[in-house]
């Protein structure tokens, strides 16, 4: 086993530790400051284990179980889902620049959500917005897949230009819906787009949890085939991979993961780009370790981003999508330059 391979358990444990601290922190900070011991106590109490750390007041306990915990769990799930979706996208396109957000999947989801908000006033519940966002995300994923491929392969330029085209088209649709909608709908759309984990409730967490776990499990099961895909489609096929079938299943996985994450949390861009890339630098490109580490890394990133979103400005909450884009934009640019200099220009 290579040196990189031996590093995987260490990196995994480190990420788990960082995540545990982040989860504790995220549950503890906020308008109502709660001691970390009380967080642990409340969590244990919810599981039926009574300890002396349990919060003294019911208010604290309720705040944790009704507001903080669902939100923390959601940030973990959304981060993991987005990062794994990015890693899978990169695996099937054989390109580190492929990310659901970059190629327009998130904007498709936004279009779906806006459509639900503007037209579905009668049924404009959180659930219907989420359902439309999910459908938009899945639809655009399939569209990008169909459009970005020519003669069985995908070039970087085609992929990025497809992203521009899809983003532009979704942007136009979004503008039209903003124009048609009333003031309340507009506000809802704008804030949905900025991305937020505010107001997360348990039933929503459950939906995302089911989809995220299924998606990540399928991706992990396909990991050895993603490794072979790195040899090119022809060689992968010679090694027994049914490439077309793998692609279609993977696209569905990406759609489900991205759709689930974006449906309730709104647009949170660049997680799928930054996290797998950093994990690849740390662990190498072998996909089993990469996908699992990306899930953890994504969870870590979003948990801390959510803490930052809630604490950077006193008395207000920053949209979490703003934070990830603030970091992700420059990172994407750096990655683009690096890729370009490596390959000596775009083919």
């Amino acid at each position: 086993m290579s040196a990189r391979g031996r590093r995987a358990p260490v990196v995994g444990l480190a990420l788990l530790a960082v995540l545990a601290v982040g989860v504790l922190l995220s549950a503890a900070v906020g308008q109502l400051a709660i001691a970390p011991t009380e967080v642990v106590g409340a969590a244990l109490e919810g599981m039926g284990i009574h300890t002396s750390w349990a919060p003294g007041s019911d208010v604290t306990s309720q705040a944790l179980w009704q507001i903080r915990f669902p939100r923390v769990v959601m940030s973990v799930l959304v981060g993991a889902a987005l990062a794994v979706a990015g890693a899978v996208m990169q695996a099937i396109f054989g390109n580190p620049l492929a990310e659901p957000g970059v190629v327009g999947v998130s904007s498709g989801a936004a279009l779906g959500a806006a459509f639900a908000i503007v037209t579905g006033a009668a049924l404009g519940s959180v659930a219907s917005v989420a359902a439309f966002a999910f459908a938009g995300g899945v639809g655009v994923t399939l569209l990008v897949y169909a459009m970005a491929r020519a003669n069985g392969r995908t070039e970087v330029v085609t992929l990025l230009l497809t992203g521009i085209a899809v983003n532009a088209f979704a942007g136009a649709g979004l503008a039209l819906l903003l124009f048609l909608g009333d003031a309340a709908a507009r506000e809802q759309i704008v804030f949905w787009q900025l991305g937020s984990l505010n107001g997360t409730r348990w039933p929503e967490v459950a939906v995302v949890a089911v989809l995220a776990v299924i998606g990540i499990a399928v991706a992990a099961a396909l990991a050895p085939r993603y490794d072979l895909l790195a040899l090119g489609e022809r060689t992968a096929a010679h090694l027994g991979v049914r490439v077309e079938r793998l692609r279609i299943v993977s696209i569905l996985v990406v759609a489900v993961l991205t759709g689930a994450a974006v449906a309730y949390a709104g647009i949170i861009a660049f997680v799928g780009l930054v996290v797998p890339h950093v994990m690849r630098l740390a662990l190498g490109p072998a996909h089993r370790a990469l996908l699992l580490a990306s899930a953890l890394g994504g969870a870590v990133l979003l948990t801390y981003a959510d803490v930052a979103a809630r604490t950077l400005v006193t008395g207000a909450e920053l949209p979490i999508g703003l934070l990830t884009s603030l970091v992700g934009g420059p990172f994407f640019f750096w990655l683009l330059r690096r890729q370009r200099s490596r390959s000596g220009g775009w083919a």
């Binding site: 090694l239 027994g240 190498g284 072998a286």
Partner: protein, 256 residues
């Protein structure tokens, strides 16, 4: 005995163009067959038809007596290995990881226990052991070709198809790759190699198939096939065939 590869009247089309036209040939276990011919004659296309990669417009290909269509993808990968001309690897996989990928068709089978030994042996036979921990994308063209060959060797298949394995190699490595291909054949594999260098083919191949504009123009031992009467119209070039003083095998030179 059943031929390792049996091709009958194999035809491949791309739109209106006929890329391979009714080619019939057998490759036996223990035999090294060289596929030669001018650029665009259809050598690589024929190879991809034999490997099951390209759909046939007509004819039939059987591996070990079974039509290609009857093979499951996994079983096929344990039967025949293919080295393509273009060997790129996306992402920074190490040489060892790339060669280990050649073992993937054997996953979850008893043979998988030999993985480490097979990988080490394949690296050694392709003369790339010293590159084991290097990242594939950082290698030179010739090194990539040899690492990819090691990956094919690690697949341990009774049928091996190599598409221009020597294109990027210096003469020492060309000789080594062909000696290796021949040793695979001597060990019982059926080996098909696409190659441009006729003298190299003559030195190592048991038989040579000459393709000319999609058709089989000749098939036989190097002495039978490498004659000016056959080669000159195929290549559109005057050639001189002399005997290698040591081996007595034909050496083909252009008339200058």
């Amino acid at each position: 005995m059943t031929a390792a590869i049996h091709a009958r009247e194999v035809t491949v089309r791309a739109g209106a163009a006929v890329l391979v036209d009714r080619v019939t040939l057998d490759v036996r276990h223990g035999e090294l067959l060289a596929l030669v011919g001018p650029n665009g004659a259809g050598k690589s296309t024929l190879l991809s038809a034999l490997s099951g990669e390209r759909e046939l417009a007509g004819g039939l290909v059987e591996l070990d007596g079974r039509p290609l269509a009857a093979w499951q993808a996994g079983a096929l990968a344990r039967e025949r290995a293919v080295l393509t001309q273009d060997n790129q690897v996306a992402f920074a996989f190490t040489v060892r990881e790339v060669v280990a990928m050649g073992r993937s068709p054997w996953r979850a089978r008893p043979e998988a226990e030999e993985d480490d030994a097979v990988i080490a042996e394949s690296l050694a036979r392709a003369d790339v052991t010293h590159l084991t921990d290097r990242v594939f994308t950082s290698l030179s063209g010739g090194e990539r070709a040899r690492v990819s060959l090691a990956r094919v060797l690690a697949q341990r298949t009774p049928v091996v198809m190599l598409d221009e394995p020597t294109a990027a190699l210096d003469i020492r490595h060309q000789e080594e790759v062909f000696a290796l291909a021949r040793s695979l054949a001597r060990a019982g594999s059926a080996v098909v190699v696409v190659v441009h260098d006729l003298s190299l083919a003559a030195a190592y191949a048991d038989r040579i198939a000459v393709l000319d504009r999609a058709r089989l123009a000749g098939l036989g031992t190097p002495r039978e096939v490498l004659v000016p009467e056959l080669l000159e119209p195929v290549y559109g070039l005057g050639v001189r065939v002399i005997e290698d003083p040591d081996t007595g095998l034909p050496v083909v030179l252009p008339r200058r």
